[in-house]
């Protein structure tokens, strides 16, 4: 039997680049016509490996997916070789994409329950498809509450979509920032994202929490929510780790017995408790 080389990627086109913040861009990427990937199921929270030949490959989450059309968004902060090259090459460039990989957000488990989203900075990127999915299947889910924090108002992603998020029936959006630079108008909270817990209405019973952000932020989110009576099995975190393969072989993303690429990147807190090399 001839095995397929799992590192072979599909060449895709970057259709559109949209600036989100000074260093974060959303890339709209399209699979070629006739691609097998068009029929592949996609789950919010999964990731893809994107590469530019000669520069390298890196894992990114989806920030949107157009079912059946093979078009997706990935929202990326410009911090390294691959992300800088992506940003500089802009629209029209060709990139290699393989995936999707991993376990996404618990959209099935969340059905019939309230959904609480707690995001920090770039951590909103993999949660945006959750918001879209809940909006699209509004009656399948209970209340939707979104808590979103960033360093400054300029660092909030998808700010032009906030109004439509608020327009989703039975949905709330609470915002906070660490600080407000001079000359910027801001009539929301100031402080870390957990300061929004006081104003939140989601109750521990019959709810699912999905959080993504810096691990230190998630540590305090978990701590705060557990103190309020949320259960470890209902708190889902999306983790960041170094990944070179995405298919549970290169070993970089290991956390104790877990491979973040295969067993995550989304984990219920109940599976992470007591494992090494975690801040949460």
């Amino acid at each position: 039997m001839r095995l397929e080389n799992p590192y072979l990627a599909e060449e895709c086109a970057v259709k559109r680049v949209k600036r989100q913040t000074p260093d974060v861009y959303t890339y709209t990427i399209s699979y070629p016509r006739g691609s097998n990937r068009l029929r592949m199921p996609f789950r919010p929270g999964q990731f893809i490996m994107v590469s530019i030949p000669g520069i390298g490959e890196a894992p990114f989450s989806f920030s949107a997916w157009d079912d059946g059309k093979g078009i997706f968004d990935t929202t990326i902060r410009t911090v390294g070789n691959v992300t800088s090259a992506l940003m500089k090459r802009g629209e029209g460039q060709r990139v290699w994409v393989r995936g999707p990989y991993g376990r996404g957000w618990p959209m099935e488990e969340a059905k019939g329950k309230d959904v609480l989203i707690v995001a920090g900075g770039i951590g909103m990127a993999p949660l945006r498809p959750v918001i879209e999915l809940v909006a699209k299947n509004r009656r399948s889910y209970g209340g939707l509450e979104i808590l979103y924090g960033a360093r400054t108002p300029n660092d909030l992603l998808f700010a032009d979509e906030f109004e439509s998020w608020k327009g989703i029936p039975d949905a709330d959006l609470l915002l906070t920032v660490d600080s407000v630079p001079k000359g910027i108008e801001w009539d929301h909270g100031v402080g870390v994202v957990t300061t929004l817990f006081d104003r939140m209405r989601t109750e521990p019973n019959d709810s699912i929490v999905m959080t993504c952000g810096p691990e230190i932020m998630m540590k305090f989110v978990v701590k705060g929510l557990l103190a309020m009576g949320f259960q470890p099995k209902d708190l889902y975190l999306s983790l960041e780790r170094r990944m070179k393969c995405g298919i549970a072989q290169c070993g970089h993303c290991q956390i104790g017995p877990k491979f973040v690429c295969r067993d995550g990147p989304v984990f219920p807190y109940s599976e992470l408790r007591g494992l090494p090399d975690l801040l949460v």
Binding site: P6, L8, K244, G251, P276, D277
Partner: protein, 343 residues
């Protein structure tokens, strides 16, 4: 499966016949150590070797390996399959079991590795019951030696003037058909059992595997890690000499003048600082204490417990003792386990 008893005098002829079909790699003396190297005759091999510097992993996972080549203006080319059949002669039980563990990573997951599968398929394995474990060996306590239960094509056991040769596969049967020898008697099997018992009496190290995954997870904050972190040089020799370490980096390299390049895999090591580094310099195992804990924990603790989920309870470590033998800081994972147990 069948077997034969081969006089030591006839081994040369057997190897010579095998060499007509296979490229043979066997244990060869190098200075005071041994290496697995290409050999053309039985005389070039030292079958009384204790352990080789590098395990045979290098034949299945090269230090550096091309995944594909690419052209900047499009087009990808996969490496060609050119190598013919090869044979590893005299692989010990620890190293053989290591290959069975690597199979779980590279063959039994959702995305099997074609290059690894090819190399495993085309490489015959003539195993050798280990009769002279080194001072650092502890395969017996890991359940991986001194004689393998399976996974070989042929298993040789030194009976003194003869070798008991047992086949473990159809390929092994075919290989044994090339050997001159006599039929196996009950006394030969008894001789093998005695050789194994004798080898077992020589072990100086062991690991108590009882509840070991729990032991590690309960002791993540044990001061032993901090002390080891201060001792550890983070040189990576433990990983490079390990028969089951499989981690690798993936990199791109452009040709000059940048018309194309290669994407390649290269051995990597969890004890190195950059291994767990992410964007903006974040690092989940910045301290050496966390890195040595990962190496030892992966080998003896959580690695075997659930990482290869289908094989619960088996450790990644096969007890070959190489990491102990080569550690310049004198870190001995069998001693670390004792410390964690408070012994």
């Amino acid at each position: 499966m069948g077997g034969k008893v081969i006089a030591k005098d006839s081994l040369g002829e057997f190897v010579s016949k095998l060499s007509e079909r296979y490229r043979i790699f066997g244990p060869r003396k190098k200075g005071t150590e041994w290496i697995f190297d290409e050999v053309r005759s039985a005389e070039e091999m030292d079958l009384r070797y204790s352990t080789t510097i590098l395990p045979p992993r290098k034949f299945f996972i090269p230090t550096s390996e091309r995944i594909f080549s690419f052209k900047m203006d499009g087009g990808v080319e996969e490496p060609e399959e050119r190598d013919g059949p090869s044979l590893i002669f005299g692989i010990h039980s620890c190293d053989l079991n290591a290959l069975l563990l690597l199979d779980m990573v590279f063959l039994e997951g959702e995305f099997p590795s074609p290059s690894y599968a090819r190399r495993r398929e085309r490489t015959a394995l003539v195993a050798l019951t280990c009769i002279d474990p080194s001072e650092n060996c502890f395969c017996e306590s890991m359940g991986t030696g001194p004689s393998p239960a399976g996974g070989y094509d042929v298993l040789l056991t030194d009976l003194g003037r003869e070798y008991l040769a047992e086949s473990g596969s159809r390929r092994g049967e075919e290989m044994l058909a090339l050997a001159k020898g006599r039929a196996v008697t009950a006394a030969d099997l008894e001789g093998k059992a005695k050789a194994i018992e004798c080898a077992k009496s020589k072990f100086k190290k062991k690991v108590d595997l009882k509840g070991i995954d729990e032991l590690f997870l309960r002791n993540l904050d044990n001061p032993v890690w901090k002390r080891l972190g201060e001792k550890d040089l983070a040189c990576g020799i433990c990983v490079n000499s390990c028969p089951t370490c499989f981690c690798f980096d993936v990199r791109d390299q452009l040709d000059f003048p940048m018309v194309g390049g290669v994407r390649y895999k290269e051995w990597d090591a969890c004890v190195l600082l950059e291994f767990s580094q992410v964007a903006l310099g974040g690092n989940f195992r910045r301290d050496r204490a966390a890195r040595i804990r990962q190496f030892i924990g992966h080998n003896l603790g959580w690695g075997g417990a659930s990482q290869f989920r289908e094989f619960k309870g088996r450790a990644k470590c096969v007890g070959c003792g190489r990491c102990i033998r080569y550690c310049p800081a004198g870190i001995d994972l069998t001693e670390v386990v004792k410390e964690l147990r408070g012994i």
